[in-house]
Amino acid sequence: MFWDQQLECIEPERLREVQLQRLKEVVKRVYEKVPFYRKKFDEAGIKPEDIRSLEDIKHLPFTSKTDMREAYPFGLFAVPLSEIVEIHTSSGTTGKPVVAGYTVKDIALWAEVMARCLVMVGATKDDIVQIAYGYGMFTGGLGFHYGAQKIGATVVPASAGNTKRQIELMKDFGTTFLACTPSYALYLTEYAKEEMGIDLSTLKLRIGSFGAEMWTEEMRKEIERRMGIKAYNVYGLTEIIGPGVAHECPAQQGLHVWEDHFYPEIIDPETGEPLPEGQEGELVLTSLTREGMPMIRFRTRDITTLHREKCACGRTLAKIERIKGRSDDMIKVRGVMIFPYQIEQAILEVQGVEPHYQIILTRPHYLDEVEVQVEMSKEIFSDDVKTIETLRKRLEKKIEQTVGVRVKVTLVEPKSIPRSEGKAKRIIDKRNLK
């Protein structure tokens, strides 16, 4: 299903015309209205007139999270504060928060792109959409809220937390569509089963949209099985707009980027050079139509690959693969770069192990050591020590094969790894390298 079929299936040539037109406009606008950009463009020796083709975007300087922090709070706004109707700030997991301001038109745009996401995966006005993303100081909640209201669905703004209540709402209201983080989705199924004796797959749930943290194909299967739904990946970030930058279609093979509004590039995170299509690198986004706070070449730090071949769903808009890691989330262990997702992937491949794990980094002598704690579960428990020991060794071997570093796997008791209702804390770095 399509929210705006003409646009979502636009001719690639026509799309490029639209993008170029909008890029020229936004570059001119920020150069005139935002001293931060004028200064940066001047330093780079580039004028708005220099943008003659889409490829010229590579001459524009990047905007980083550090730039945003320096501009805190309102330094990147391109309109007077009186025109701003809503302010969000990022969850601030890595330092001083960043701020995003929205005009009336920006909010309408947000609702529009989120409406495309929801309709794409089959949501209609008859759906009951329960939003278990936070609403305060986090764009997840309101982004879904605006989109779901735009398509006329019934919104249940549950916000994050209060797990028991979430499950009661699902049951009593007959929730059909769930939006939350994937780790919380799994937690919900577990809590429902163990604390309330409810099997979520017997409820009316049919679609889920999950994001705001990295997850894997195996987690998708697990969520789909436990909830009896189709689970889709949503992508977005406060700096650009919030959720709704990209979303999976029913093909479940990559996320369509609404690139008439958000122009995607993939760069080499080390050199900053654009990479050819199909190569993995860091996603860089330019918001082409934002009024309140346009973003020029924002470095997302998210690692992915961009694809442009036509999708089975009929859409022509580019797709990104699910986010594989963060360029600043890499752990360097004995000189080897590893991403938490690789370890997660390995654990999940060893069949039957529930995805509750934590990575602990230590440096007892001069060498880094990696301990991966994996929770024991009923499904894989054997009353035989040998069998469990074999499982543990299989986990160690699989992880070593995947990341190229020897790790120690410890099996721990159920529920001993802290559960999160927002983002999962997967890495505990005890190395004290400073």
């Binding site: 024991m376 428990f381 054997s382 035989d384 020590v385 469990i388 099996l411 721990v412 008791e413 529920k415």
Partner: protein, 139 residues
């Protein structure tokens, strides 16, 4: 039926774990008849033979433990030199492999039971019964 049930619990190898587990049993007035602990580095498996196995199983489950309830066989042995030897000789003569075992001393200096788990419970029971050895009946 000549069947006993054994509770197996997964525990991390940390101080106070056994204390917590035995406290649960004590508070529920469940009597431990025999137990064994197998240790593998960071974790271990504690096995119990108790007077109320189903209750004990539910109790551990409710308290968040990974726990299993498995059937086992019990054979009476004489509490004298060669007592265990007689019993295991009999078991091996039937081609049965002992997976895990513990001892239940029913009457001190008189009677004890060799409690063991096997791969195929029903089949093993058939082979062992009516052979002059006393099988334990608790369930």
């Amino acid at each position: 039926m000549y069947k006993v049930e054994i509770i197996s619990i997964f525990v991390e190898n940390k101080p106070g774990k056994l204390e917590k587990i035995t406290k649960l049993l004590a508070e529920a007035y469940i009597n431990i008849l025999g137990f064994s602990i197998t240790d593998a580095r960071d974790f271990g498996i504690i096995k119990f033979l108790v007077d109320k196995p189903k209750e004990a199983y539910e109790l551990f489950k409710k308290n968040g433990f990974v726990v299993a309830l498995n059937p086992a066989l019990g054979i009476e042995m004489k509490d004298k030199p060669g007592g265990l030897y007689e019993v295991v000789k009999f078991i091996s003569s039937k081609g049965i492999n002992i997976e895990n075992a513990l001892v239940y001393v029913a009457e001190s200096r008189e009677k004890a039971y060799f409690i063991f788990e096997v791969e195929n419970f029903e089949e093993s029971l058939e082979k062992l019964k009516d052979n002059g050895f006393e099988l334990l009946k608790l369930v």
